[in-house]
């Protein structure tokens, strides 16, 4: 059994070696080593996906297998959901390394080392089966993420972004650790399976379990940019170097969501089973608020990277809705959606990086019409916008279809409406900015004087900017094409649903980990009929296009313009005013969010 620890261990050892000898190696060798490492991690993760198809792989570090049903050591519990996510992570890291081939001309090996440690932390989060180990990888991911976010420390923007990122995430991590301590205090176990079994057998009663659950996941909610913990994300993503943004938006945020879902199903599902409706309502509330706030904020941005960051927030909301259905098919739909979104968002950020490379700006108004030189990048951006809208054949379409189907069967039809809202607002924003940049449509100056921040950016590259190197547009093309291709094969969708069934089978996993009992076969999975849903993306794209056109050509609204603009501003202003850019405010919102969601759980559980 060689492979399970390697996705974490290989990048760590390579990172250490790069720091030790990297200064004596030429830049290209560093790039090659880094790419080779990411590629081999990708290959190993793909192998793990295949190997865990039948039964989850349980790997006990140090050979400390459970004695008398008691887990002494740390284990990896690798199922298809975790391994698949780790594969997505390593694929995006590979894309980021390719993209940064022409980037950061002056860097030494530290950039590569930080990225590899970041990769190791994310893989560890995907695969682990231990509460404290999850916290350790979470912290490793955050620490390397902060360092990467502030990488361009000669500018001010990255510094503030990294500071807000660090403070919010650190606070969240401490609260998570508090939750872990509470779990340990009540059952004396850190292993997921052990804690789940003990909590089920000795429920401490009262509100202890729901509160511990909330504390544990609050760190992950911060990472997942759930409302009202989301403020840091837009600040950090807007200013981080582009290759880092690919990872931040493509997978890091989703990993927060994954960790929350994983902790719920691995540890808390049985003790909280009697009140699953309350837990579901919590996730649905978070999801709805996050979709709306992220979508509206996204539409009101002019800075392309920041716009994409808010779109990520909105789409995370969709995934929260999927998790909130608390069902296997909802979770499977979320997995498909996550896959599609990660790839599309990675591709879109690369497009932003290409613009930054060519024109030293990602500002909507500064770039007005300049994109005419870059029709292919524009096409990729258009495709990305369609992917955000959930157009077939993008994976987001199939994921959304699955989620809508699952929601309908749970009597929560309104959920699909909220999901459509996210698609409309975010793709409208991308279409609008694309129309302005690549077609030169619309005004050259902001129509509204109360405009969104135009964060000064410096180019990340030196030298000639006359052309776009292949290492930049090829990854973007590959990612967006991948997002289209991946879910076309029904086998991928079936695998996602089966993985979700496995993840949801708490009791089966617990016995499998502690006793080695094989898990029961996965029941027949139900793929939602996709073609009947075709009207949704059509409506999405039509609404998005109308909205984008209205924003580009407000005069076409004629007499109604003043009233419309006025109404929209009234709606948007409070949200914009919330986002003050001050870390003290963010922390206050964080505490309020924890308090309110905690109150929700406490009052819900009394029923």
């Amino acid at each position: 059994m060689w492979f399970p620890p390697l996705p974490v261990v290989i990048p760590l050892i390579v990172a250490a070696s790069l720091v030790a000898i990297g200064a004596y190696l030429p830049r290209r060798v560093l790039d090659l080593v880094a790419c080779a490492t990411a590629a081999s991690v990708f290959a190993i993760c793909c192998h793990l996906v295949a190997a865990s198809a039948d039964q989850p792989i349980v790997y006990w570090f140090g050979g400390w297998r459970p004695e008398h049903r008691f887990a002494l050591g740390i284990c990896f519990v690798i199922d298809q959901a975790g391994a698949g996510l780790a594969a997505l992570v390593s694929l995006l890291v590979l894309a980021a390394f390719l993209f940064s081939w022409q980037y950061f001309e002056s860097v030494k090996s530290l950039y590569h080392a930080l990225m590899l440690v970041f990769l190791a932390g994310m893989c560890g989060m995907c695969l682990t089966g231990d509460l404290f180990n999850l916290f350790v990888w979470f912290e490793l991911m955050s620490a390397s993420g902060v360092a990467l976010c502030g990488y361009k420390s000669e500018e001010f923007g990255p510094l503030q972004g990294a500071l807000n990122f660090a403070i919010l995430n650190t606070l969240g991590a401490y609260l998570s650790l508090t939750g872990v301590a509470i779990v340990y205090a009540s059952v004396g176990a850190l292993n997921f399976a052990q804690a789940s079994a003990s909590l089920a057998a000795h429920d401490p009663g009262g509100w202890l379990v729901p509160i511990a659950f909330l504390f544990v996941i609050s760190g992950f909610l911060v990472k997942a940019a759930a409302f009202p913990f989301h403020f840091w994300l837009a600040d950090a993503h807007a200013v981080a170097p582009t290759p880092v943004c690919i990872l931040f938006s493509g997978v890091m945020v989703e990993l927060g969501l994954y960790a929350a879902a994983r902790v719920y199903w691995s540890v808390f599902a049985i003790p909280l089973a009697a009140h699953s409706s309350v837990t579901g309502a919590l996730f649905l509330t978070i999801g709805t608020l996050t979709v709306i706030v992220g979508g509206i904020e996204c539409f009101s941005q002019r800075h392309l990277k920041r716009l994409l960051a808010f779109s990520t927030i909105s789409h995370t909301g969709v995934m929260f809705l999927g998790v909130g259905l608390l069902s296997a098919d909802g979770l499977g739909g979320t997995a498909i959606y996550l896959l599609g979104h990660g790839l599309v968002k990675g591709g879109l950020f690369i497009c932003a990086g290409i613009l930054l490379h060519r024109f030293r700006s990602v500002d909507e108004f500064e770039l007005h019409g300049k994109g005419r030189e870059l029709p292919w990048t524009g096409l990729l951006l258009l495709l990305g916008a369609l992917g955000l809208a959930g157009m077939p054949p993008f994976a987001t379409f199939f994921g959304e279809g699955q989620l809508a189907d699952s929601a309908r069967r749970h009597g929560l039809g309104w959920v699909s409406g909220v999901m459509m809202l996210s698609g409309i607002l975010t793709s409208a924003a991308v279409l609008r900015i694309g129309g302005r940049i690549f077609l030169g449509w619309g005004l050259r100056r902001p129509f509204d004087s109360d405009e969104a921040p135009a964060i000064p950016m410096e180019s990340e590259t030196h030298g000639g900017h006359r052309n776009t190197p292949g290492t930049m547009w090829l990854p973007a093309l590959a990612l967006i094409a991948g997002a289209m291709a991946v879910a076309l094969a029904p086998s991928v969708r079936i695998a996602a649903l089966r993985a979700a069934h496995r993840m949801e089978d708490t009791r089966g996993v617990t016995d499998h980990v502690l006793l080695g009992t094989p898990m029961a076969a996965v029941p027949e999975v139900h793929i939602a009929p996709a073609l009947g849903e075709l009207w949704k993306p059509a409506v999405n794209v039509a609404c998005a296009a109308l909205l984008a056109l209205a924003a580009l050509f407000p005069r076409a609204l004629g007499r109604a313009r003043r009233a419309v603009v006025h109404a929209i501003e009234r709606a948007i202003h409070p949200l914009r005013a919330m986002h003050t850019g001050r870390v003290g405010d963010y922390v206050a919102w964080f505490i309020l969010g924890v308090g309110v969601y905690g109150a929700m759980l406490v009052f819900g559980y009394r029923r």
Binding site: W2, P5, V9, L12, A15, A16, S17, V19, A20, A23, Y59, W60, F61, G62, G63, W64, F70, G73, I74, K108, L110, L114, V117, A120, F132, N133, V136, E139, L140, A143, V146, A147, G150, S153, E154, A185, S186, V187, G188, A189, L190, A201, P204, G206, W207, L208, I211, A212, A577, M578, T580, D585, A588, W589, F590, I591, L592, G595, G598, V602
Partner: protein, 255 residues
């Protein structure tokens, strides 16, 4: 948002969070027999099966050694991140503000005092090394001893000058040492794979008989402990170095 709004939000949330703490406290701690099991097994096994007397070290480097690997790299990546943020790469000697060269000299400390500080360096190093290598027997270990060792060069700076500090703590060299310390941990873990065991399995000789406990018993534990000690020493010296150099940069000092 104006300040009062922020405080309103905070106090509302804080009241609720305080209530959450209180509500969870009334049900804690859980039944003794349930939550004491982990502890009982470890306390019962660490001497007999691992040949170490410090159970905390046994947990850190053996039972839950994989956590410590992650933690090592948290330290590693934070040091690298701090260096990146402060951009300590190519400073040249002589770029320091003259009055900052030595706090000892700057405040006009007598030679006797400076000699005394210098003389303290030796015992500090000895104590640090002692703390590192006795980690498995008595309280202490790679982390604690490493930080103690890292303060030794600082004493040199206090007594002499930053140039002396710099000379014995070459930046490039320290980075290599830190990386080797961190990487060694992973490599020791990998060795077990080549022996056909799980990652991080304790494959070295644990000790003879049941009661053979000394500085070298415990198999991989003392080796990992030493690697951690090296990494922490180098890491903290680098951190102090980065901040010191940042403070002393003449260009910024406005002199």
């Amino acid at each position: 948002m104006r300040h009062p709004g922020r405080m309103g939000i905070f106090f509302t949330g804080a009241a609720a969070v305080a209530a959450l703490y209180a509500l969870s406290a009334i049900r804690l701690p859980g039944p003794e027999d349930v939550r004491g099991e982990y502890m009982r097994i470890i306390n019962g096994e660490c001497v007999t099966f691992r040949h170490v007397t410090d159970a905390v070290t046994a947990v850190n480097f053996d039972f839950r050694g994989f956590d410590t690997l992650g933690e090592e790299f948290i330290l590693f990546v934070s040091v690298m991140g701090t260096l990146v943020l402060l951009r300590q790469t190519d400073a040249k000697p002589g770029a320091w503000a003259p009055d900052a060269l030595s706090p000892g000299r700057a405040v006009g400390a007598s030679d006797a005092l400076r000699v005394w500080i210098l003389a303290m360096t030796g015992p500090t190093v000895l104590f640090g090394i002692y703390t590192v290598i006795h980690g498995q027997l008595t309280p202490g270990g790679g982390f604690q001893g490493g930080v103690i060792l890292a303060t030794a060069p600082l004493l040199l700076y206090l007594a002499e000058s930053f140039d002396v500090f710099r000379r014995i703590t070459s930046h490039r060299y320290l980075e290599i040492v830190e990386a080797v310390g961190a990487g060694a941990y992973g490599v020791i873990g990998l060795l077990a794979l080549f022996r056909g065991r799980e990652f991080m399995a304790n494959i070295f000789h644990l000790g003879k008989g049941g009661n053979d406990i000394n500085l070298f018993s415990g198999g991989t534990i003392p080796v990992i402990n030493a690697a951690v000690g090296i990494e922490v020493t180098a890491g903290f010296v680098l951190l102090l170095y980065a901040f010191l150099q940042e403070m002393l940069e003449r260009k910024e000092a406005g002199s």
